[in-house]
């Protein structure tokens, strides 16, 4: 037993040829967020506080698809969603945010200040203002890279899931239309040495998504889940994660089939969701961590109290 933390910045068809200027800032951010989370756990902050502060940091970083840097809807706007869940089963979720700087914190407010779990669109924005939550003009969240991604997606006339396609359109890009990058979410899971668990996920969704489209991130049991056994945050193609009730299934396999965290997570990712669609990070009450994915890569980082740590994008080669 001991504390453990894992975080992700999206799973998808991340090309091995990802240029350094696209790769390095994200690695730096993952490293920074991991350190923030580890320091927080070491200073005995609750896992709920830890996952919130890590995801806030990821939301604020424009290189990931959450908060600032969120991908754009078909109308060129930003619609953000997030979800947080405590291992004691309390949870909160929000969707359709356009001006709230930190969606994950609003999700936490829903959990703590209302008798509800999920608030969306105008109602969520009104709730944010009632509670003096930090908001900024919608333009704050829009980055030039995402304007470009939307343009590309419209040209290719498909819904794109971020990260894959390089900015310069090359011939081979259109050829990989089926291999849509499946990244596009940030998340964090944590457990302390007492076995308290928490999970948090946040996203801007899919590039060129229909206005009003809700993905897996805010759906308890799909993109986010925590109970007394484990905490899970998933990323990838939202529609596949919803259908596969991914986050709940990891916990269900542990609970009902007695699988270990690693076995349960591997089973869900390898056998229950089509290839190229999902990745997740998960921790167990006993301090284990796992980060499986069935996509080309997943921006991820983890650390455990016994000193193990990892920051990676593609599968680690086995020697």
């Amino acid at each position: 037993m001991g504390w453990a933390i894992a975080l992700h910045g999206g799973a998808g068809d991340i090309p091995l040829t990802l240029p350094p200027e696209r790769r390095l800032p994200r690695e730096v951010c993952l490293r920074h967020c991991l350190q923030l989370g580890v320091d927080a756990l070491k200073s005995k902050k609750s896992p709920l506080d830890v996952v919130e502060l890590v995801v806030r940091e990821l939301e604020n970083n424009p290189h990931f698809n959450a908060g600032k840097g969120s991908v754009l809807t078909s109308s060129g706007t930003v619609e953000m969603e997030a979800c947080i869940m405590d291992g004691n089963m309390k949870c909160g979720a929000v969707s359709g945010l356009t001006t709230v700087v930190n969606a994950i914190s609003l999700a936490r407010l829903v959990m703590e200040r209302t008798p509800h779990i999920y608030l969306a669109f105008d109602g969520a924005e009104a709730f944010a203002r009632e509670h003096g939550v930090e908001t900024l003009d919608a333009s704050h969240f829009i980055t030039p890279e995402n304007i470009q991604r939307l343009k590309q997606a419209k040209e290719a006339n498909r819904v794109q899931i971020d990260y894959t396609q390089p900015m310069q359109k090359k011939e081979e890009d259109t050829a990989t239309a089926d291999g849509d990058s499946q990244t596009g979410t940030v998340g964090c899971v944590a457990v302390d040495s007492d076995g308290n668990l928490a999970a948090a996920t946040s996203t801007g969704g899919l590039v060129n998504k229909m206005v009003g489209r809700i993905g897996d991130t805010p759906l308890i049991g799909a993109g986010t889940y925590a109970n007394s056994l484990c905490a899970v945050s998933a990323t990838g193609k939202g529609e596949a994660i919803i259908r596969g009730t991914v986050a709940r299934d990891v916990a269900a396999l542990m609970e009902f089939k007695g699988l270990s965290l690693e076995e349960a997570a591997a089973c869900v990712v390898k056998e229950r969701v089509p290839k190229g669609n999902v990745g997740l990070v998960a921790v167990s009450a006993t301090g284990e961590v796992t980060m499986p994915f069935n996509t080309t890569g997943m921006f991820r980082a983890c650390a455990t109290e016994d000193g193990y740590s990892e920051i990676a994008i593609w599968p680690l080669t086995k020697d």
Binding site: Y118, L119, F127, I214, G215, G244, T245, R248, A252, F256
Partner: protein
Amino acid sequence: MVGWAIAVHGGAGVDPNLPHHRQEEAKQVLARCLNMGISALRSSLPAVDVVELVVRELESDPVFNSGRGSALTEKGTAEMEASIMDGVGRRCGAVSGVTTVKNPISLARLVMDKSPHSYLAFAGAEEFARLHGAEVVDNDYFITEDNKGMLKLAKEANTIMFDYRIPTVLSDTCGASVENPLQMNGLPISVYAPETVGCVVVDAQGRCAAATSTGGLMNKMCGRIGDSPLIGAGTYACGLCGVSCTGEGEAIIRGTLARDVAAVMEYKGLGLQAAVDFVVKERLDEGKAGMIAVSRNGEVACGFNTNGMFRGFATEDGFVEVGIW
């Protein structure tokens, strides 16, 4: 080939003092919808079509809390949500924040069949509806005098407390209408009972489907989403079964109830009724809810820890039942 089976519900949690004529009215609606489903099954309509048409009928009838007759938001408007899931391929569609679409369940079906997504909400859902020529009406269409009255009572009862598990002393503020202490979602049950509607079906080919539709919680905050449109919470269907839940939305979400019925069947090998019983007993903590379910083997089941659940069942071998308690 199996025998087909169908179950419908009109909500878990019933006022024990519900007047007899209201009980009869509810049973008649359930029976009528059940019969429509039975006819459809006899003409070999696939499960996913049957659940849609049955829920459409429940939405069109003002008796239960969906479509016309929906519970009202704090602003006095109707804000509806629904979801549908086809066990074949576990395809799904859901909508929330629907204010003018006459049949939210059909909009959810359109999302499943005609969009690249699984879930559309609010302005985006309404726009999608118009794009596809779904029938739209004024929001007034959904609002009944009954529910306007209920909303007033809910506001007087000082409505949803922050922690609705703390019993509130209401009898002195509510007058004679609140005779019993039964509460759900923080409201006395005479003022508000969930009355979400749903239908689950297994057809003669063993295909399962589920559909759920609701106006949500009386006096809810605008933008509040409950369990009904959430796949795995209020609705679920896969190769093994179809499930639709109703009750305290937040408890159903936390308990991922609909998914858990299928999960214990799949991962623990429980039969349908045993799975339903397990979930109702183990996954609801202090929450109040109920569910109906069918299995690919032609079985029906239901379970609830509430005071009653409006429900109806029928199986191909002739079993038919409509009940409340």
